[in-house]
């Protein structure tokens, strides 16, 4: 056991810190370029003084980032809320009932983990078009929920199988029906999984590009990544302006990350113990 701090540890620590600084280069470059005047000389890491916030104002207006961020926010919050409600509820009978239909349903749902969304892509696109949901946030929300059900149901079911029945029985003896017992007793006990489900899905949905590109691309209702995609193709190689847009689009998720890093890292590690 090398639990003591030796000169070898010092070398290791120095190497890791150097590596961490290298890891931050892309982020530092992103921030630095976004603060440069449009016609400034020098590369990603050469500072230009004085910094300007002008790129931010222009990017905000011209990429329509205000509305796009609001859409991203609505899509993320509504999708995650529905995923939690649907997945937790479904996992309850799937974990508690051992009859055939319960096992069959579980395997039907979890089997979805292996099917890439691309297979369903075009038929789903045609259906969404036919029912008039193209260009609406609902299309993206529904797709997020459907695609994330398998993994979230899996996590909830595994957790519930380990959860003793005592609490539910106590609730039953107190005269709680199954619905009330689930909502007031079981669901609060699921908090650790709910945390993981929220973190994994919120990060994934906020950052998602493909689905919103298909369903919202070209409409007035875009999300942040889709707005950025359009913005970049419009202002090719005007890097300071583009980078200001990029910074605005990732600020919410990065602020959240640095504020809640412990929980977020734990959420990513905890979701995968299956």
């Amino acid at each position: 056991m090398d639990a003591r701090y030796t000169w070898r540890t010092l070398v290791r620590e120095a190497t890791l810190i150097l590596l961490a600084l290298l890891f931050l280069v892309p982020l530092a470059g992103l921030l630095n370029v976004s603060l440069k005047p449009q016609d400034s000389e020098g590369g990603a890491l050469a500072f230009a003084w004085p910094p300007t916030l002008g790129n931010y104002a222009r990017a905000w207006d011209e990429a329509g980032l205000g509305a796009a961020l609001a859409n991203s926010f609505v899509i993320t919050v509504v999708s995650v809320a529905l995923i939690i409600a649907f997945a937790a509820a479904a996992a309850y009978p799937l974990a508690r009932v051992t009859r055939g239909w319960s096992r069959a349903t579980f395997f039907l749902l979890v089997g979805g983990l292996l099917v890439p969304g691309q297979l369903a892509l075009l038929p789903l696109y045609a259906t969404m078009r036919d029912v008039g949901l193209l260009g609406t946030l609902w299309a993206v929300i529904l797709i997020n929920v459907g695609q994330q059900i398998p993994f979230s149901v899996f996590l909830y079911t595994m957790f519930l199988r380990e959860l003793p029945l005592d609490y539910e029985e106590a609730a039953l003896l107190d005269g709680c029906g199954p619905v009330r017992s689930f909502v007031t007793v079981v669901f609060p006990l699921l908090r650790p999984v709910t945390g993981t489900v929220v973190i994994l899905n919120a990060v994934g949905i906020w950052n998602e590009f493909f689905t919103p590109l298909l369903y919202l691309g070209g409409s007035d209702n875009t999300t942040a990544p889709v707005a950025i995609y359009g913005f970049v193709s419009q202002y090719v190689s005007q890097w300071p302006l583009i980078f200001a847009g990029l910074v605005i689009s990732v600020v919410p998720i990065l602020v959240l990350y640095f504020a809640l890093q412990k929980h977020i890292i734990k959420g990513f590690a905890g979701g995968l113990k299956g």
């Binding site: 890891f23 292996l114 695609q147 199988r161 029945l165 980078f243 990513f268």
Partner: protein, 314 residues
């Protein structure tokens, strides 16, 4: 994520309806989980995943183009088109190459980082936060930043020239020989922290006594790692490899940001090819057959991996 075995049978699940007081000691009251709780989840899942996936598989044997309601079977015609298409074949090869390289490099990097920040090092908590930070970054945005850093006058070439290695500087994304590996480098930078966190959880589950016992038995650092740590990390390896492989096989965002699939077809992946054939060229049958090929590739690789890891753990 493999098929779960441990089904703990909840006692009393079939006991009579509610409101039976627990009469004898140990008797379980009838806890009931209503079957209709599964309905919302199953309904959305069937509508979004099951029905369109089945339709996709069926339509891949037809000339369905998404617009006309009618369609007729064309047998394996669409698959023949896919196989005969140079760009689609390139996309298939690129995707496998990208997924394989990214999986190997990201896992080695993630494991080394995890070993580095596991214990003793003073700044380990800060280091973990830094190495994990790119994971939460929007992949599209990260791709744009990298495309700037790797551009002919970007930071990488500048650094090379400053270090007197100007001969190595070139257009990383414009050269078909390096473009795919440039994308892999971005993926590794972005997701090595994810692998690190999973390996870290695995490392921290190893009891200190086991390592102490190995040390007392005279095992050196390498031998401890090879014969004690690595076998105990098997679960983390399985999860990490599975996540990397599937993520790599579906790769879309970073490619769209960094190269758009080019130069030529040098970085075209199955996902970008599916997107382009459907939404730029309007060739639905081709696109759908390619999606079925992709599903088959993922299923086969997942099965192979499952087999390999089953054998290793038994």
């Amino acid at each position: 994520m493999a098929a779960p075995h441990a089904t703990t049978t909840p006692p009393g699940a079939r006991a009579p309806a509610a409101r039976t007081p627990a009469t004898a000691r140990g008797q379980r009251a009838g806890v009931r989980a209503p079957w209709w709780f599964v309905v919302p989840a199953v309904a959305v899942y069937v509508f979004i995943v099951v029905v369109p996936s089945v339709n996709g598989a069926v339509f891949s044997f037809t000339d369905w183009n998404g617009l006309r309601p009618g369609w007729s079977f064309v047998g394996l015609g669409n698959y023949a088109d896919v196989l005969a298409d140079r760009a689609a074949r390139d996309a298939l090869v690129n995707t496998l190459l990208l997924a394989a390289t990214a999986t190997v490099v990201q896992n080695v990097a993630g494991l080394l980082l995890a070993l580095g920040v596991n214990r003793v090092v003073r700044s380990r908590y800060v280091l973990r936060v830094v190495f994990f930070a790119p994971v939460v970054l929007t992949p599209l945005v990260a791709g744009y930043v990298w495309s700037f850093l790797l551009s002919p006058d970007g930071a990488l070439n500048e650094a090379l020239r400053a270090a007197g290695l100007g001969a190595l500087a070139h257009d990383w994304l414009g050269d078909p020989g390096t473009a795919l590996y440039a994308v892999v480098a971005e993926i590794v930078w972005q997701f090595a922290g994810y692998s690190m966190v999973i390996y870290l959880a695995g490392l921290q589950a190893i009891p200190a006594e086991v390592l102490e016992a190995a040390t007392i038995d005279g095992a050196g650092a390498w031998s401890r790692f090879r014969h004690v740590v690595l076998p105990l990390l098997n679960g983390a390896v399985v999860i990490n490899v599975m996540l990397c492989l599937i993520g790599g096989l579906k790769q879309f965002d970073q490619v769209m940001a960094m190269t758009g699939g080019g130069p030529g077809t040098a970085t075209e992946t199955i996902s970008t090819a599916i997107y382009k054939s459907a939404f730029s060229l309007g060739d639905y049958p081709f696109s759908i057959a390619l999606a079925v090929v992709m599903t088959a590739v993922i299923a086969v690789l997942a099965a192979v991996q499952f087999r390999l890891t089953q054998r290793r753990s038994s």
